[in-house]
Assembly symmetry: C2
Homo-oligomer: 355 residues x 2
């Protein structure tokens, strides 16, 4: 592969001049510039980003460590992150933690070794020493979706409290009184916050949230299945199951179906994180939708601000309730036909109905 020396030789100039042309430094004569450009073209030269990074101490790369690639929520997040980063001249390297702290650590370490300019993390746990040290040492870092309390790192996330209240109001209005939740790991903020929000919302209606109605999941489908089975085995099973993420909702759907029961007739279901597929499940699933693409964009802008010396800001956006049929028919005259929400995976084309 041709190097800058080859180009210099071909163009009959020094490497300094070639470099100047490439970085369009002003003081290069038109003649030299033309010769260099011709040489670049002739040799098919492309600057070696590795060498450049070593010298300039910047890689123009962002690391993104997400909790689970198979979760459409994170996939959508990754997509918007890459999009915004590209617009700002950065590349993104994605690390998939699969909800495993050890894998998360592996990826953080690898990314740090590669000297990425900034790090976006959706932490799977309370944070390893490695990550906390990096934060303290001044690595530009931003938490997305989930965060670690007590660490001085900006957070970009959606606040679901009001949407959870809307959900509970909706459920209460449909006559449900025994509501259960499949929680995420307590070590994650989204794991504990969603339970808290749910409990608070129930309290407003004078409803209890007994321990038996709090199932411990891990944001993966299998745990949703297991917890739902436990709920169904209860002497007094809940009337509604609220899954703290979409994969556990999928698992819940599995479990219900495996028993030969029907949603919402035998048991109602709702989920945190809306995804395109929820429109097409049987029945369509009522969910709390996050402004995922906006979160991704805001997160990128925050790290890049930090990288480029501007003060980064934490961002909190609102989540909204999307009512579908999985909790029962809404009150009022039921229409003959379900409201149709066009699905497309492109953010510029996505529409969502709010209650």
């Amino acid at each position: 592969m041709a190097s800058i020396k080859d180009v210099a030789a071909e163009a009959g100039v020094s490497v300094a001049t070639v470099s100047r042309v490439l970085n369009d430094h002003p003081s290069v004569s038109a003649d030299a510039r033309a010769r260099v450009l011709a040489a670049v073209d002739a040799l098919g030269y492309r600057p070696n980003a590795v060498a450049r990074s070593l010298r300039t101490d910047q890689t123009r790369t962002l690391g993104l460590v997400i909790s689970d690639v198979l979760n459409p929520y994170f996939t959508e997040l990754a997509r918007s992150v890459e999009e915004e980063a590209r617009a700002l001249g950065y590349s993104v390297v994605i690390g998939n933690a699969d909800e495993r702290p050890d894998l998360q650590d592996h990826h953080v370490r690898t990314l740090l070794d590669r000297r990425i300019d900034g790090l976006l993390v959706s932490p799977t746990d309370g944070g390893s020493p490695l990550m906390l040290d990096a934060a303290r040492a001044g690595t530009p870092m931003v938490f997305v979706d989930r965060w670690i309390p007590g660490v001085d790192v900006p957070v970009v996330r959606a606040d679901g409290r009001s949407a959870v209240r809307d959900l509970v109001a909706h459920l209460h209005g449909l006559g449900h009184r025994r509501l259960a939740i499949i929680a995420g790991p307590a070590a994650t903020t989204t794991g504990s916050e969603r339970v808290e929000a749910f409990r608070d919302a129930l309290r407003a209606y004078g409803l209890p949230l007994p321990d038996a109605y709090i199932g411990q999941g891990d944001f993966q489908a299998a745990s949703g299945r297991r917890v739902t089975e436990e709920f169904l085995d209860l002497a007094e099973p809940p009337e509604v199951v609220f899954a703290a993420d979409n994969l556990m909702a999928l698992g819940a759907l599995d479990a219900v179906r495996a028993r030969g029961l029907r949603v919402p007739d035998d048991i109602a279901l709702a989920a945190f994180d809306d995804i395109p597929w929820f429109v097409h499940t049987d029945p369509p699933v009522t969910a709390i939708a996050q402004p995922t693409p906006e979160l991704g964009r805001a997160a990128v802008r925050a790290v890049v601000d930090r990288i480029e010396g501007r003060p980064p800001r934490s961002v909190t956006l609102a989540a909204t309730l999307v009512v579908r049929r999985s909790c029962g028919e809404p009150p009022g005259p039921p229409g003959p036909q379900d409201p149709y929400t066009p699905h497309t995976p492109h953010p510029d084309d996505t529409q969502r109905s709010t209650p």
Copy 2:
């Protein structure tokens, strides 16, 4: 951030010795080794991968350019690729082409600039000069899923011909005679091959595949919706729509629902690429399943073979038909309950029923 010089100073040895310890070169005294290790620990030193790559001319990184991150098929592929790569000591950098040749080109260029050791591509089109040049220039490269004919690059893919024959047999057995297909872009192999396989299978049953029953899609949901609407507007609409990928099937489902029609009563639906969600759609969708995790692993092994000087092999695995309810009840006494297939996104735990 501490460099190798700092470690050398701290340990009272030369940088050469530090390097030797780090790469466990045999000729280092136990004493020196201990002092270096202690210094590494004390300083929290981590070798700079950028500098190392510059010197050794290898990044231990693989590039993966996929057609669409929002497509669960590619997400699953990416996951297995990263897993296998990690097991072999490589990192993976994913580029999402979003089915856009220009974006694909952007990512290939960026990855090449970063001097990745090998490239895995699922081409969105016939291949840009950039990519073809790279292949010719000897960049270790492997095509996954889709490929570009006439280029000397190993291909790792699934052969769907026999599964498509099984599908057509199934449809024919259910009494369907007017079968239509939503094709992918003709520029992609999976776009054209699936149509060919379908046409051949139909021929075996003496069924025609009129041009009106070949809709041109682009592997995205919106095109599935559009093509399905066109089918439904035909004087004689098809009885079955076969979508060449899962997103277009989703679009088809949208379109059918928007007309107030039912699957499979009014029109049957089948898809290429099985995904967990198809179990839970209304109705569950009959699909052709690829051995996606195996494809990912085989692809990684192929590039790594190439990188490490072993001859890489092309791999073709078989796809299988998974019958569900979207084409009508299978003949014979219909069971009261759907067969239950547990869903989990983890490959080690996935089960699939074959007809």
